[in-house]
């Protein structure tokens, strides 16, 4: 048989070379990656997405993921190709390791082959050697290897798998097909280098239909890579730009049928990706909002550190510098000789440019050069030249911030242009040397190329002995390592097979809580992982643990952990019952690590929780192995209904429900109630107030919100802003009189802040006249506020609110001015200096006046003040709750009645607002009445183990001295001798919690806040030492009343009440049929007419819809929030069959079919009219 095939195949030279290239590329790919998969392991690290189960893979077809409770919307259709291929390979070979390694080999070998084909084309069209020589084949192959295996692809595609490998591997052939379909040269290309065989794919550009197929199939192949949407945007720009170039070269009329065909082609390119991009677009806004919540400009300076042109032009991006602990990191960052050969590539690009200019077919060359320069401009980020353009783009161009990880986001296309251009350069060099018969020089050039190749492919080959991502960390004096090379242990499979079918309809709470990512150390097997929670990818249940970057649901799932942290086990149990959470899973393989565990949840540990659970009969240990213990919540009796309920408790609360504290308070107000609906929006309350049977008001802290002086920034002077202001002013002019006094004051405060900002700006610009003008206009604004406030007649709380508002702004302005006068530049103009000091005193006197009468939280005197709004008259039960383990409630008052220490009271309250004052005390770490220090002496005070939290260190000066001293708090004992030479680089900076220097022995008392956050228990130390120990001054310092005590923050103390009316009768039985994560059917049997709402505990989304068919008509129910969840008003529960769907899904399916039809039509039209 083999002989028969071999006889049939004609082994022509081109064919042998092609086969050789394929074999060599496979061998190269295998050599590059085999070590990662040796022993049946996989690569799994940080953001890697790897489907560990078929169920998880299937979830990608839906636009709602429920595996991470309480669910998140998203559109992962672009992932389908990746997920499907890896799942298929896993099924075929019954090994995830084999599946992943095969995918890796496919990408690497494909990228070598496709680049090799492209480089042959470039050789043929641009370099045009006199005749075919094997040396060119070798060079092509070498550059193909460099393109596939280099510093960029190692970091961004392979060692942490990123689906952009889909693009890298096929982009060369995709763009080549574009060149073939729309050539830039007018003369047809001769095929001297390509096989003449007509059966070959690469025959001539007469076979355009084949190139059309190649273009669209390769385009589809890249889909998964385009999940990073910025790649798609760049790809579209790339294609569009090329087509414009083509039209330009084609020398045809602009308004012609040909132009229309080209436009049609571009439309087909868009349609090719529309089937998956449309769903992504639906989720895009939320995704962008959550991802850019930190702001995109914050990455600017950090990302720019090493991305300068010198590094970028020799293919050396910032991530290699910042993030790699590998052995080769030292070579690439510190050893300048090792990376010297990398200069070869930019040299070759310049050389190519010098050589190519006489060539008529240089369109493609310049096309690549523009891609290179454009991408390089982004890649270099905030580095000169013209960095202001990039900064401006980040700040003002919508979505440009997507380039925040510039080397990654623009690097893909940068690499794509970089290697073809340097290949052209080397091919030209070879051609010249051959023409001049300089064979020795040719050999030297080849040698340099090989040396450069060793450096550029170093991470894959040269440093393969240690090229696996590892993180070393210490916990409780023991060393641990997370490694990207890992294997899922059998214990996970055991848990999976146990839970299969048992967790349907309920959720599982994991202890400890993960962050965005999770981690485990499997010492038994010598493996570990740090990355997305394996359990959620592995077991088809709904897990509560990982953040979903949606504030409401995240706050909700944080609350049970907060209760555990406080040791409130009863509250924790109630929370599980209230929310149909059927299992608690204790993970014993977790070693606390900063990025994967919450520092402030150190008490909510597996050991402590197991202690609670073992003692309670409501929990039953149902499964245990070395890594897990699973408890079922017995009192739920396995009655799970996928989070659907017909609530019997209709709760109203004024809480904003946007923090874990808020949900803890709500859970405590609900106590043992299981089925509930919570209304916290005014418009919903207006509609459904008659159904409310539990009022749960929460008191809000007064004076906890402060405005930082840094928030006062120069006003926006852009044209758009001015235009908006003008329109606003015009509108306001007509309606100023109709404004309430309250709003008039607010507007005046804003105006005064604007004037103040302008004044500060003028001062900084040394504009004397402007400064004078703004000082006087600012004073006028302040006077205006005074006048308006004097005429403001309102209730106690409204007046107090206004005082708080004025005080907050005035305090921020005062701090800013004070800082300017103390630390700013020297003001030479006496008049302005005098005016500024006068202004400061005006601000101070106004602040003192407000502070005399304002009613707000006083952290100094330890009085927490709150406002309680009672929505309905009745006998309330009120509770004061403390979430700070370092605080103790002493007493509190509600209205005018004082209560001593009782945390829960009962009081009859009328509708209206009540003041609540809570006196508290704080735990002190040290309290030293007096401490004397000789000049040059270092004082060390052992603070012992300090629990996590916010602290205040304070002292008063027993003597007056100008000596400069330093106060330091460290988490390690330091050698005092090191401190004597403070400022030297030997001091271990990581040990410092705070370090403050200055002349503190003046007239003011010293006070500073600091925060302790550690997963480990450590001993802390306070150091007091002189900064000029050699001073001739023989100063003896005396510290009085040195205090370190726990400090309170807004939100630490909660005060909430509840007023209960009789509940509806017991929970009706409902049956829920889950068709998919986006489609449910809720069946309510007859005789259950006891309520009017339906609640679904997945995250609220406007696309969730509940409807029924009545008399053949679809009836949609009103949808609103129940806290973070969904609720519908359904009139009654009498014998209903309600469908609940996530609407986006059907829209996406429709879009899929419409896109396919349009694509087929457009492609048909294109093929028909292409050559006419």
């Amino acid at each position: 048989m083999i002989n028969f095939i071999l006889k049939k195949i004609k082994f022509t030279k081109p064919r042998i070379i092609s086969i050789l290239v394929v074999i060599l590329s496979l061998i190269t790919a295998f050599t590059a990656v085999y070590k990662w998969f040796e022993g049946g392991t996989i690569l799994y690290y940080w953001d890697t997405l790897l489907p560990f189960s078929e169920e998880y893979a299937r979830a990608f077809f839906s636009t709602w993921y429920s595996v991470i409770f309480p669910g998140i919307g998203g559109a992962g259709l672009s992932w389908v190709e990746y997920i499907f291929s890896i799942s298929l390979l896993e099924r075929l070979f019954s090994s995830l390791s084999v599946a992943q390694s095969m995918l890796y080999m496919l990408f690497i070998s494909l990228s070598i082959i496709t680049f090799y084909i492209l480089s042959n084309y470039l050789l043929e069209t641009i370099v045009k050697p006199d005749r075919e020589r094997n040396i060119y084949k070798i060079i092509s192959f070498l550059f193909a290897v460099f393109y596939s295996l280099n510093l960029f692809t190692f970091y961004y595609s392979y060692f942490l798998f990123n689906p952009q490998a889909f693009i890298l591997s096929i982009l060369p052939i995709n763009i080549l097909s574009l060149f073939k379909l729309f050539p830039l040269n007018e003369v047809p290309i001769k095929d001297s280098f390509f096989p003449k065989d007509k059966k070959s794919l690469l025959v001539t550009n007469r076979k355009k239909i084949l190139w059309v197929l190649v273009f669209f199939l390769s385009g589809l192949f890249m889909t998964s890579g385009f999940t990073t949407y910025i790649f798609l945007a760049q790809y579209f720009i790339l294609i569009l730009f090329y087509l414009i170039l083509h039209l330009f070269f084609a020398r045809k009329k602009l308004f012609s049928r040909y132009t229309l065909t080209v436009i049609l082609f571009f439309l087909i390119v868009i349609l090719m990706h529309w089937w998956w991009f449309f769903p992504s677009l639906l989720a895009f806004k939320d995704l962008y909002q959550s991802q850019s919540s930190l702001g995109t400009t914050v990455y600017f300076d950090v990302g720019s550190i090493k991305s300068n042109l010198l590094n970028s032009l020799r293919l050396f991006g910032s991530p290699m510098m910042n993030n790699n602990p590998f052995s080769w990191d030292n070579f690439y960052t510190e050893n300048r000789w090792f990376t010297l050969p990398l200069f070869l590539f930019p040299f070759l690009i310049i050389y190519a440019l010098l050589k190519v200019k006489k060539n008529r077919n240089i369109g493609i060359f310049f096309y690549f050069l523009i891609i290179l320069l454009g991408s390089l401009f982004i890649v270099k980020l905030g580095n000169p030249p013209l960095a202001w353009i990039t900064k401006f783009s980040f700040e003002h161009i919508p979505f440009f911030g997507a380039f925040r990880d510039a080397w990654h986001k623009a690097g893909l296309f940068y690499i794509f242009a970089y290697f073809p251009l340097s290949f052209i350069g080397f091919a030209f060099l070879t051609k010249v040397l051959i023409e001049k018969k300089q064979y020795f020089l040719l050999k030297i050039s080849l040698f340099i190329l090989v040396v450069t190749g060793i450096v550029v492919t170093g991470p894959f080959f040269l440093f393969s002995y240690d090229n696996i991502k590892k993180i070393n960390f210490t916990y409780q004096d023991k060393q641990y390592t997370f490694s990207a090379k890992t294997k899922v242990p059998p214990e996970y499979y055991e848990l999976k097979s146990y839970l299969f079918g048992k967790c349907d309809g309920t959720a599982i709470l994991e202890i400890p809580k993960n962050s965005m990512i999770s981690s485990a150390i499997w010492q038994k097997y010598g493996t570990s992982y740090v990355g997305q929670d394996i359990l959620t990818h592995f077991i088809p249940c709904n897990f509560i643990s990982t953040q979903i970057l949606n504030n409401g649901p995240d706050s909700f799932i944080f609350s049970p952990y907060m209760m555990l942290e406080k040791g409130d086990f009863a509250g924790f149990k109630n929370f599980l019952l209230q929310n149909q959470i059927g299992f608690v899973l204790i993970r014993k393989d977790n070693i606390p690590y900063y990025y994967t565990n919450y520092i402030y949840l150190s008490n909510a540990s597996p050991a402590l929780t197991m202690g609670f659970l073992n003692k309670d009969n409501d929990f039953k240990k149902t499964f245990e192995n070395d890594f897990f213990t699973l408890y079922s919540v017995e009192s739920l009796d396995g009655n799970y209904s996928y989070g659907f309920s017909l609530p019997t408790s209709i709760v109203y609360t004024n809480s904003s429900l946007n923090s874990g504290h808020d949900y803890v308070s709500l859970s405590k107000q609900l106590a043992n109630k299981r089925e509930y609906l919570v209304i916290n929006k005014n418009e919903d309350f207006k509609k459904y107030s008659s159904f409310v049977n539990l009022y749960a008001p929460v008191a809000n802290c007064v004076g906890c919100v402060k405005i930082s002086s840094s928030a006062i920034k120069p006003p926006d002077e852009s044209f758009l802003r001015k235009l908006k202001d003008l329109v606003k002013q015009l509108i306001r002019k007509n309606s100023t009189d109709s404004l309430s006094q309250d709003k008039k004051i607010s507007y005046s405060i804003i105006d005064s802040t604007k004037e103040f900002s302008k004044m500060m700006e003028a001062l900084e610009q040394k504009d004397l006249q402007g400064s004078k003008n703004y000082i006087s206009s600012y004073i006028k604004k302040l006077e205006n506020i005074d006048v308006l406030f004097k005429n403001y007649k309102a209730s106690f709380f409204d007046l107090n609110n206004k005082k708080t508002e004025i005080k907050n702004f005035l305090r921020a302005q005062n701090e800013k001015l004070s800082d300017y006068l103390n630390f700013g530049v020297v003001i030479k103009n006496d008049q302005i200096r005098g005016q500024l000091y006068l202004l400061l005193s005006i601000q101070n006197s106004k602040l003192a006046e407000i502070e005399k009468t304002i009613w707000e939280t006083d952290f100094k005197n330890k009085i927490y003040r709150m406002r309680l709004d009672i929505p309905k008259e009745g006998k309330y039960s009120c509770t004061v709750d403390n979430y700070n383990n370092g605080l103790k409630i002493e007493n509190f008052s509600l209205g005018s009645i004082k209560y001593d220490k009782n945390s829960t009271i009962s009081a009859f309250l009328s509708k209206g607002s009540y003041p609540v004052s809570i006196n508290y005390s704080t735990n002190s770490i040290i309290n030293i009445s007096s401490l004397k220090q000789k000049s040059g002496e270092v004082k060390e005070i052992n603070l012992g183990n300090v629990p996590n939290g916010l602290y205040k260190v304070s002292f008063s000066a027993g003597s007056i001295s100008k000596q400069k001293i330093a106060i330091a708090i460290t988490n390690n004992k330091l050698n005092p001798k090191i401190l004597e030479s403070f400022g030297s680089s030997d001091i271990p900076q990581n040990d410092f919690i705070i370090i403050d220097t200055g002349s503190f022995f003046s007239d003011k008392n010293y006070e500073k806040y600091f925060s302790v956050s550690s997963l480990d228990k450590k001993n802390y130390y306070l150091y007091l030492f002189s900064l000029n120990p050699q001073s001739e001054q023989e100063d003896h310092l005396e510290y009085k009343d040195i205090f370190i005590e726990r400090a309170a923050e807004g939100g630490d103390i909660q005060f909430f009440c509840k007023l209960e009316s009789p509940n509806l009768s017991s929970t009706p039985a409902i049956k829920v049929i889950k068709k998919s994560s986006v489609k449910y059917r809720v069946l309510i049997p007859k005789g259950q007419n006891i309520g009017k709402f339906l609640v679904f505990n997945q995250s609220y989304g406007t696309d969730w819809e509940a409807f029924e068919y009545k008399y053949g008509e679809k009836r949609i129910f009103p949808h609103f929030n129940s806290g973070y969840a969904n609720a519908w008003f359904i009139d009654s529960h009498e014998g209903r069959e309600i469908n609940v769907v996530f609407n986006q899904q059907s829209l996406i399916i429709k879009n899929f079919f419409i896109t396919i039809i349009l694509f087929a039509i457009a492609l048909f039209l294109f093929l028909k009219y292409k050559d006419r």
């Binding site: 330009f248 020398r251 300068n308 042109l309 010198l310 590094n311 032009l313 300048r336 010297l340 200069f343 930019p346 040299f347 690009i349 310049i350 050389y351 440019l353 010098l354 200019k357 006489k358 240089i362 310049f366 050069l369 523009i370 320069l373 390089l376 580095n383 000169p384 030249p385």
Partner: protein, 119 residues
């Protein structure tokens, strides 16, 4: 007149350097690297010198590609001496002249496309 001038510019931009270099030995491009280091030694390292040097090179009708090569060589030499920050400055000029080269290409391409008779 205009037609003649454009032709002259086109010709100079492509061939100017070769004409000069063949006529005057001291204007051979590698010598400019040496000249720059003399300037750097005399005037010190500042942008005035680098910009001035670039302008002189442009006036001498060296092609943008050659100027890019000169700055690349200067960059490589200072890198040898461990002055990586300075090498980075010169790379800005390499990058700039590559960009100018692209602009020049498109300028002549447009001229050729719409004023074919000029060339």
């Amino acid at each position: 007149m205009e037609k003649y001038l454009l032709k002259k510019i086109w010709h100079k931009s492509k061939e100017g350097f070769y004409v000069y270099s063949s006529q005057k030995f001291f204007l051979y491009w590698p010598f400019f690297i040496f000249y720059y280091f003399i300037l750097r030694q005399v005037f010190g390292l500042n942008y005035f010198v680098i910009y001035g040097f670039s302008i002189v090179l442009i006036f001498l009708r060296l092609s943008f590609e050659t100027i890019a090569l000169i700055f690349f060589s200067i960059s490589l030499i200072v890198y040898f001496f461990g002055l990586t920050t300075e090498a980075n400055h010169y790379f800005s000029f390499v990058y700039g002249f590559l960009a100018l080269s692209v602009l020049k290409y498109f300028y002549f391409l447009i001229k050729e496309r719409y004023f074919k008779d000029v060339f």
